[in-house]
Protein backbone atom coordinates (compact mmCIF):
# COMPACT_ATOMS: atom_id res chain seq x y z
CA UNK A 1 0.00 0.00 0.00
CA UNK A 2 1.43 3.31 -1.11
CA UNK A 3 0.17 6.61 0.16
CA UNK A 4 1.36 10.18 0.39
CA UNK A 5 0.46 9.99 4.08
CA UNK A 6 3.11 7.42 4.98
CA UNK A 7 6.30 9.34 4.26
CA UNK A 8 5.63 12.32 6.64
CA UNK A 9 4.39 9.86 9.22
CA UNK A 10 7.70 7.91 9.15
CA UNK A 11 9.57 11.18 9.35
CA UNK A 12 7.65 12.22 12.46
CA UNK A 13 8.07 8.80 14.07
CA UNK A 14 11.81 8.95 13.32
CA UNK A 15 12.12 12.38 14.91
CA UNK A 16 10.26 11.22 18.02
CA UNK A 17 12.60 8.23 18.20
CA UNK A 18 15.73 10.41 17.93
CA UNK A 19 14.45 12.76 20.66
CA UNK A 20 13.69 9.85 22.97
CA UNK A 21 17.16 8.38 22.39
CA UNK A 22 18.94 11.72 22.86
CA UNK A 23 17.00 12.78 25.95
CA UNK A 24 18.93 10.66 28.50
CA UNK A 25 22.19 12.04 27.09
CA UNK A 26 21.14 15.70 27.33
CA UNK A 27 19.13 15.73 30.56
CA UNK A 28 21.24 15.21 33.71
CA UNK A 29 20.45 11.97 35.55
CA UNK A 30 19.54 13.77 38.78
CA UNK A 31 16.90 15.90 37.08
CA UNK A 32 13.53 15.22 38.62
CA UNK A 33 10.60 16.23 40.75
CA UNK A 34 11.73 17.51 44.11
CA UNK A 35 9.94 17.98 47.41
CA UNK A 36 7.64 20.70 46.04
CA UNK A 37 6.16 18.47 43.33
CA UNK A 38 6.17 18.84 39.57
CA UNK A 39 4.93 22.43 39.42
CA UNK A 40 7.42 23.99 41.86
CA UNK A 41 10.08 21.36 42.42
CA UNK A 42 11.18 20.15 38.97
CA UNK A 43 14.94 20.65 38.97
CA UNK A 44 18.50 19.34 38.85
CA UNK A 45 19.14 18.05 42.38
CA UNK A 46 22.91 18.72 42.41
CA UNK A 47 22.26 22.44 41.92
CA UNK A 48 21.16 22.65 45.57
CA UNK A 49 24.65 21.58 46.64
CA UNK A 50 26.24 23.99 44.19
CA UNK A 51 24.44 26.85 45.91
CA UNK A 52 25.31 25.51 49.37
CA UNK A 53 28.98 25.49 48.35
CA UNK A 54 28.90 29.19 47.39
CA UNK A 55 31.74 31.13 49.09
CA UNK A 56 30.89 32.84 52.39
CA UNK A 57 32.51 36.30 52.49
CA UNK A 58 31.10 38.06 55.55
CA UNK A 59 32.31 36.12 58.61
CA UNK A 60 30.83 38.34 61.39
CA UNK A 61 32.48 39.67 64.57
CA UNK A 62 32.99 36.19 65.96
CA UNK A 63 35.60 35.58 63.26
CA UNK A 64 37.46 38.85 64.00
CA UNK A 65 37.56 38.78 67.78
CA UNK A 66 40.20 36.11 68.33
CA UNK A 67 43.02 38.08 66.69
CA UNK A 68 41.70 41.64 67.09
CA UNK A 69 40.50 41.32 70.65
CA UNK A 70 41.38 44.87 71.69
CA UNK A 71 39.44 46.49 68.87
CA UNK A 72 36.61 44.03 69.33
CA UNK A 73 36.24 44.94 73.00
CA UNK A 74 36.49 48.69 72.48
CA UNK A 75 33.82 48.61 69.77
CA UNK A 76 31.60 46.30 71.81
CA UNK A 77 31.67 48.70 74.76
CA UNK A 78 30.73 51.69 72.61
CA UNK A 79 27.45 52.87 71.11
CA UNK A 80 28.58 51.28 67.88
CA UNK A 81 28.47 47.76 69.32
CA UNK A 82 25.69 46.66 66.97
CA UNK A 83 27.78 47.43 63.89
CA UNK A 84 29.68 44.55 62.34
CA UNK A 85 33.43 45.05 61.85
CA UNK A 86 33.00 44.07 58.21
CA UNK A 87 30.53 46.88 57.52
CA UNK A 88 33.50 49.28 57.43
CA UNK A 89 36.51 46.97 57.12
CA UNK A 90 35.06 44.99 54.23
CA UNK A 91 34.29 41.28 53.98
CA UNK A 92 36.93 39.12 55.70
CA UNK A 93 36.61 36.17 53.25
CA UNK A 94 39.75 34.16 54.21
CA UNK A 95 41.67 36.97 55.87
CA UNK A 96 44.55 36.90 56.89
CA UNK A 97 45.44 34.45 54.10
CA UNK A 98 43.33 35.99 51.35
CA UNK A 99 43.07 38.99 51.36
CA UNK A 100 46.10 39.71 53.53
CA UNK A 101 44.95 43.28 54.17
CA UNK A 102 41.38 44.59 54.26
CA UNK A 103 40.46 47.96 52.76
CA UNK A 104 38.87 50.17 55.45
CA UNK A 105 36.06 52.49 54.43
CA UNK A 106 36.78 55.64 56.49
CA UNK A 107 34.81 57.90 54.17
CA UNK A 108 32.38 60.55 55.29
CA UNK A 109 29.74 58.86 53.16
CA UNK A 110 30.01 55.74 55.30
CA UNK A 111 29.16 57.68 58.49
CA UNK A 112 26.44 59.72 56.79
CA UNK A 113 24.51 56.53 55.97
CA UNK A 114 23.11 56.84 59.51
CA UNK A 115 24.29 60.19 60.85
CA UNK A 116 23.00 62.57 58.22
CA UNK A 117 19.86 63.82 59.93
CA UNK A 118 16.59 63.14 58.14
CA UNK A 119 13.30 64.51 59.54
CA UNK A 120 11.40 61.21 59.29
CA UNK A 121 9.59 60.91 62.60
CA UNK A 122 7.93 57.58 61.81
CA UNK A 123 11.31 55.99 61.21
CA UNK A 124 14.05 55.19 63.72
CA UNK A 125 16.31 57.38 61.58
CA UNK A 126 15.20 60.62 63.25
CA UNK A 127 16.18 59.23 66.68
CA UNK A 128 19.82 58.76 65.69
CA UNK A 129 22.14 61.66 66.51
CA UNK A 130 22.55 63.29 63.14
CA UNK A 131 24.23 66.25 61.52
CA UNK A 132 23.62 68.41 58.49
CA UNK A 133 26.58 67.36 56.33
CA UNK A 134 26.62 70.77 54.62
CA UNK A 135 27.02 72.60 57.95
CA UNK A 136 29.09 70.20 60.09
CA UNK A 137 32.78 70.51 59.08
CA UNK A 138 32.02 69.75 55.42
CA UNK A 139 35.60 69.23 54.28
CA UNK A 140 36.80 66.94 57.06
CA UNK A 141 36.80 63.23 57.51
CA UNK A 142 34.64 62.25 60.49
CA UNK A 143 37.42 60.02 61.82
CA UNK A 144 39.71 63.03 62.29
CA UNK A 145 37.73 63.90 65.45
CA UNK A 146 35.59 60.84 66.15
CA UNK A 147 37.02 57.39 66.81
CA UNK A 148 34.67 55.01 64.98
CA UNK A 149 35.25 52.33 67.62
CA UNK A 150 34.45 54.82 70.38
CA UNK A 151 32.53 57.61 68.70
CA UNK A 152 32.01 59.95 71.68
CA UNK A 153 34.45 62.83 71.42
CA UNK A 154 37.39 62.50 73.80
CA UNK A 155 36.54 58.87 74.45
Amino acid sequence: MKSHAWRPLWLILGLVGIILLARPLVVPSDFGTGERGFMYGYHRKSNEDEWKAFKVKYRTKEYCKDCHQENYESSMSSKHNAIQCENCHGPAVDHPEEPAKLVIDKSRAQCLRCHSYLPYEQSHRSKIKGIDPKEHNPDMECSMCHNPHKPNLGG
Partner: protein, 257 residues
Protein backbone atom coordinates in the same frame (compact mmCIF):
# COMPACT_ATOMS: atom_id res chain seq x y z
CA UNK B 1 -37.41 -8.50 34.58
CA UNK B 2 -39.63 -6.65 36.91
CA UNK B 3 -38.44 -3.58 38.76
CA UNK B 4 -40.21 -3.74 42.13
CA UNK B 5 -40.79 -0.99 44.59
CA UNK B 6 -38.15 -2.63 46.85
CA UNK B 7 -35.57 -2.52 44.04
CA UNK B 8 -36.30 1.14 43.41
CA UNK B 9 -35.87 2.07 47.06
CA UNK B 10 -32.56 0.20 47.53
CA UNK B 11 -31.13 1.65 44.30
CA UNK B 12 -32.17 5.14 45.34
CA UNK B 13 -30.64 4.70 48.80
CA UNK B 14 -27.34 3.46 47.30
CA UNK B 15 -27.29 6.38 44.89
CA UNK B 16 -27.87 8.85 47.69
CA UNK B 17 -25.07 7.25 49.71
CA UNK B 18 -22.59 7.53 46.85
CA UNK B 19 -23.42 11.18 46.14
CA UNK B 20 -23.09 11.91 49.87
CA UNK B 21 -19.52 10.56 49.89
CA UNK B 22 -17.08 13.45 50.19
CA UNK B 23 -14.70 13.79 47.27
CA UNK B 24 -11.81 13.50 49.69
CA UNK B 25 -12.72 9.92 50.66
CA UNK B 26 -12.02 8.55 47.20
CA UNK B 27 -9.09 10.89 46.43
CA UNK B 28 -5.76 9.10 46.07
CA UNK B 29 -2.82 10.92 47.58
CA UNK B 30 0.36 10.97 45.55
CA UNK B 31 3.51 9.66 47.26
CA UNK B 32 4.81 13.20 47.65
CA UNK B 33 1.65 14.34 49.41
CA UNK B 34 1.68 11.37 51.78
CA UNK B 35 5.32 12.01 52.67
CA UNK B 36 4.63 15.71 53.15
CA UNK B 37 1.76 14.88 55.48
CA UNK B 38 3.88 12.51 57.54
CA UNK B 39 7.04 14.48 58.07
CA UNK B 40 5.96 18.08 57.70
CA UNK B 41 6.74 18.68 61.36
CA UNK B 42 10.30 19.18 62.59
CA UNK B 43 11.51 20.35 59.21
CA UNK B 44 12.47 23.77 57.95
CA UNK B 45 10.49 26.55 56.27
CA UNK B 46 12.61 29.68 55.94
CA UNK B 47 10.80 32.97 56.38
CA UNK B 48 11.88 36.57 56.82
CA UNK B 49 10.72 39.33 59.12
CA UNK B 50 11.26 43.02 58.38
CA UNK B 51 10.62 45.65 61.05
CA UNK B 52 10.09 48.85 59.10
CA UNK B 53 10.05 50.94 62.29
CA UNK B 54 13.68 50.00 62.92
CA UNK B 55 15.02 50.58 59.41
CA UNK B 56 16.97 53.83 59.08
CA UNK B 57 17.83 53.55 55.40
CA UNK B 58 21.59 53.18 55.87
CA UNK B 59 21.82 50.62 53.06
CA UNK B 60 24.52 48.54 54.79
CA UNK B 61 22.37 45.46 54.02
CA UNK B 62 22.47 46.24 50.30
CA UNK B 63 26.24 46.78 50.38
CA UNK B 64 26.78 43.49 52.21
CA UNK B 65 24.40 41.58 49.91
CA UNK B 66 26.11 42.79 46.77
CA UNK B 67 29.56 41.85 48.08
CA UNK B 68 28.45 38.52 49.50
CA UNK B 69 26.55 37.38 46.43
CA UNK B 70 28.93 38.83 43.82
CA UNK B 71 26.36 41.15 42.29
CA UNK B 72 28.32 43.69 40.18
CA UNK B 73 28.69 46.60 42.60
CA UNK B 74 28.26 49.44 40.14
CA UNK B 75 25.41 47.91 38.12
CA UNK B 76 21.86 49.11 38.89
CA UNK B 77 20.78 45.59 39.91
CA UNK B 78 20.61 44.11 43.38
CA UNK B 79 19.07 41.15 45.20
CA UNK B 80 17.82 43.32 48.04
CA UNK B 81 17.12 47.02 48.23
CA UNK B 82 15.62 49.66 50.49
CA UNK B 83 12.80 51.96 49.41
CA UNK B 84 12.08 55.37 50.89
CA UNK B 85 8.46 56.48 51.12
CA UNK B 86 7.48 60.07 51.82
CA UNK B 87 3.75 60.72 52.05
CA UNK B 88 3.12 64.44 52.11
CA UNK B 89 0.39 66.10 54.11
CA UNK B 90 -1.48 66.85 50.87
CA UNK B 91 -1.58 63.10 50.07
CA UNK B 92 1.13 63.13 47.42
CA UNK B 93 3.42 60.10 47.65
CA UNK B 94 7.12 60.11 46.84
CA UNK B 95 9.08 56.88 46.64
CA UNK B 96 12.63 56.24 45.55
CA UNK B 97 15.53 53.84 45.88
CA UNK B 98 18.67 55.34 44.30
CA UNK B 99 20.90 52.42 43.19
CA UNK B 100 18.80 50.23 45.50
CA UNK B 101 20.01 52.39 48.43
CA UNK B 102 23.46 50.82 48.10
CA UNK B 103 24.99 53.99 49.58
CA UNK B 104 22.10 54.70 51.94
CA UNK B 105 19.88 57.77 52.13
CA UNK B 106 22.01 60.74 53.11
CA UNK B 107 19.86 63.72 52.15
CA UNK B 108 16.22 64.74 51.99
CA UNK B 109 16.15 64.96 48.20
CA UNK B 110 13.89 62.72 46.15
CA UNK B 111 15.16 62.55 42.56
CA UNK B 112 17.02 65.82 43.00
CA UNK B 113 14.16 67.75 44.59
CA UNK B 114 14.49 68.82 48.21
CA UNK B 115 11.43 67.88 50.29
CA UNK B 116 10.30 70.50 52.80
CA UNK B 117 10.19 68.84 56.25
CA UNK B 118 7.03 70.82 57.02
CA UNK B 119 5.19 69.08 54.15
CA UNK B 120 6.01 65.56 55.33
CA UNK B 121 3.03 63.67 56.74
CA UNK B 122 4.90 60.43 57.20
CA UNK B 123 8.21 59.11 55.95
CA UNK B 124 9.85 55.73 56.41
CA UNK B 125 12.03 53.07 54.82
CA UNK B 126 11.01 49.62 53.55
CA UNK B 127 13.62 46.95 52.82
CA UNK B 128 12.67 44.54 50.05
CA UNK B 129 13.96 41.12 49.07
CA UNK B 130 12.68 37.87 47.58
CA UNK B 131 9.47 36.74 49.29
CA UNK B 132 10.21 33.00 48.71
CA UNK B 133 6.48 32.61 48.00
CA UNK B 134 4.64 29.41 48.81
CA UNK B 135 3.13 29.57 45.31
CA UNK B 136 5.97 31.18 43.36
CA UNK B 137 4.76 32.42 39.96
CA UNK B 138 8.36 32.78 38.76
CA UNK B 139 8.86 29.02 39.11
CA UNK B 140 5.62 28.15 37.32
CA UNK B 141 6.58 30.04 34.17
CA UNK B 142 10.11 28.63 33.77
CA UNK B 143 10.06 26.63 30.53
CA UNK B 144 13.20 24.59 31.25
CA UNK B 145 13.06 23.73 34.98
CA UNK B 146 15.96 26.06 35.78
CA UNK B 147 14.26 27.70 38.75
CA UNK B 148 12.67 25.68 41.49
CA UNK B 149 11.66 25.63 45.12
CA UNK B 150 13.53 23.53 47.66
CA UNK B 151 11.53 21.74 50.37
CA UNK B 152 12.62 24.40 52.89
CA UNK B 153 10.85 27.07 50.84
CA UNK B 154 13.81 28.81 49.17
CA UNK B 155 13.51 29.43 45.43
CA UNK B 156 16.81 28.86 43.63
CA UNK B 157 18.04 29.43 40.07
CA UNK B 158 20.14 26.78 38.35
CA UNK B 159 22.68 28.94 36.53
CA UNK B 160 23.87 26.13 34.27
CA UNK B 161 20.32 25.33 33.15
CA UNK B 162 18.82 28.83 32.79
CA UNK B 163 18.47 29.96 29.16
CA UNK B 164 17.95 33.62 30.10
CA UNK B 165 14.51 33.94 28.50
CA UNK B 166 13.35 36.35 31.20
CA UNK B 167 9.84 34.94 31.73
CA UNK B 168 10.44 34.69 35.48
CA UNK B 169 11.63 38.29 35.62
CA UNK B 170 8.28 39.36 34.18
CA UNK B 171 6.28 36.91 36.28
CA UNK B 172 7.50 38.12 39.68
CA UNK B 173 4.96 40.66 40.99
CA UNK B 174 7.58 42.07 43.36
CA UNK B 175 10.25 42.87 40.77
CA UNK B 176 12.75 40.83 42.72
CA UNK B 177 14.32 39.08 39.76
CA UNK B 178 16.79 40.60 37.33
CA UNK B 179 19.15 39.57 34.59
CA UNK B 180 22.66 38.93 35.92
CA UNK B 181 25.02 41.09 33.84
CA UNK B 182 27.95 38.67 34.17
CA UNK B 183 26.42 35.19 34.19
CA UNK B 184 23.69 36.16 31.68
CA UNK B 185 21.01 34.26 33.62
CA UNK B 186 18.07 35.14 35.85
CA UNK B 187 19.20 36.18 39.32
CA UNK B 188 17.39 36.63 42.61
CA UNK B 189 17.74 36.69 46.38
CA UNK B 190 17.96 33.18 47.79
CA UNK B 191 18.09 34.10 51.50
CA UNK B 192 21.91 33.52 51.24
CA UNK B 193 21.28 29.80 50.86
CA UNK B 194 25.00 29.07 51.37
CA UNK B 195 24.87 30.79 54.76
CA UNK B 196 21.52 29.69 56.22
CA UNK B 197 22.24 26.04 55.41
CA UNK B 198 25.47 26.39 57.46
CA UNK B 199 23.62 27.78 60.48
CA UNK B 200 24.60 31.38 59.74
CA UNK B 201 22.34 34.38 59.19
CA UNK B 202 21.95 35.99 55.79
CA UNK B 203 24.52 38.68 54.93
CA UNK B 204 21.86 41.43 55.15
CA UNK B 205 20.65 40.27 58.58
CA UNK B 206 24.24 40.28 59.90
CA UNK B 207 24.98 43.67 58.37
CA UNK B 208 21.90 45.44 59.79
CA UNK B 209 22.93 47.27 63.00
CA UNK B 210 19.32 47.93 64.02
CA UNK B 211 17.75 44.47 63.93
CA UNK B 212 15.33 45.52 61.19
CA UNK B 213 15.86 42.23 59.39
CA UNK B 214 15.46 38.74 60.82
CA UNK B 215 15.42 35.29 59.28
CA UNK B 216 13.80 32.28 60.91
CA UNK B 217 12.27 28.86 60.55
CA UNK B 218 8.47 28.91 60.55
CA UNK B 219 8.29 25.21 61.42
CA UNK B 220 10.09 25.79 64.72
CA UNK B 221 7.54 27.18 67.19
CA UNK B 222 10.38 28.45 69.44
CA UNK B 223 11.98 30.51 66.68
CA UNK B 224 11.78 34.28 67.47
CA UNK B 225 10.55 35.03 63.94
CA UNK B 226 7.80 32.38 64.19
CA UNK B 227 6.69 33.79 67.53
CA UNK B 228 6.38 37.31 66.12
CA UNK B 229 4.56 36.11 62.97
CA UNK B 230 2.11 34.16 65.12
CA UNK B 231 1.52 36.71 67.87
CA UNK B 232 1.97 40.16 66.36
CA UNK B 233 0.26 42.09 63.57
CA UNK B 234 2.31 41.41 60.47
CA UNK B 235 1.60 42.16 56.85
CA UNK B 236 2.83 40.82 53.52
CA UNK B 237 3.24 42.54 50.17
CA UNK B 238 0.60 42.16 47.43
CA UNK B 239 -1.33 39.34 49.07
CA UNK B 240 -4.03 39.83 46.40
CA UNK B 241 -1.81 38.01 43.89
CA UNK B 242 -2.21 34.75 45.82
CA UNK B 243 1.53 34.09 45.85
CA UNK B 244 1.61 33.51 49.63
CA UNK B 245 4.77 35.57 50.25
CA UNK B 246 6.92 34.56 53.21
CA UNK B 247 8.56 37.89 54.00
CA UNK B 248 6.54 39.40 56.82
CA UNK B 249 6.52 43.12 57.63
CA UNK B 250 5.92 44.92 60.89
CA UNK B 251 4.59 48.44 60.39
CA UNK B 252 3.62 48.03 56.75
CA UNK B 253 1.82 51.04 55.26
CA UNK B 254 -0.95 50.90 52.65
CA UNK B 255 1.15 53.07 50.35
CA UNK B 256 3.88 50.42 50.13
CA UNK B 257 3.69 48.26 47.04
Amino acid sequence: MKFTRRDFLTTAAKGALITALPAGAIKFLGPDEVRADIDSSGKVRWAFLVDTFKCVGCGLCVKACKNENETPYGAPVTRTWVERYIIKKNGEMLADTPLGARDGFTDNKVRGDEVDPKDIGKAFFVPKLCNQCDSPPCVQVCPVGATYQVGDGVVLVDRSWCIGCGYCIMACPYGVRFFHPVHKVAEKCNFCYHRITKGMQTACVDACPFGARKIGNLKDPEDPVTKIVLTERVGVLKSEYGTKPQVYYLGLDENVR
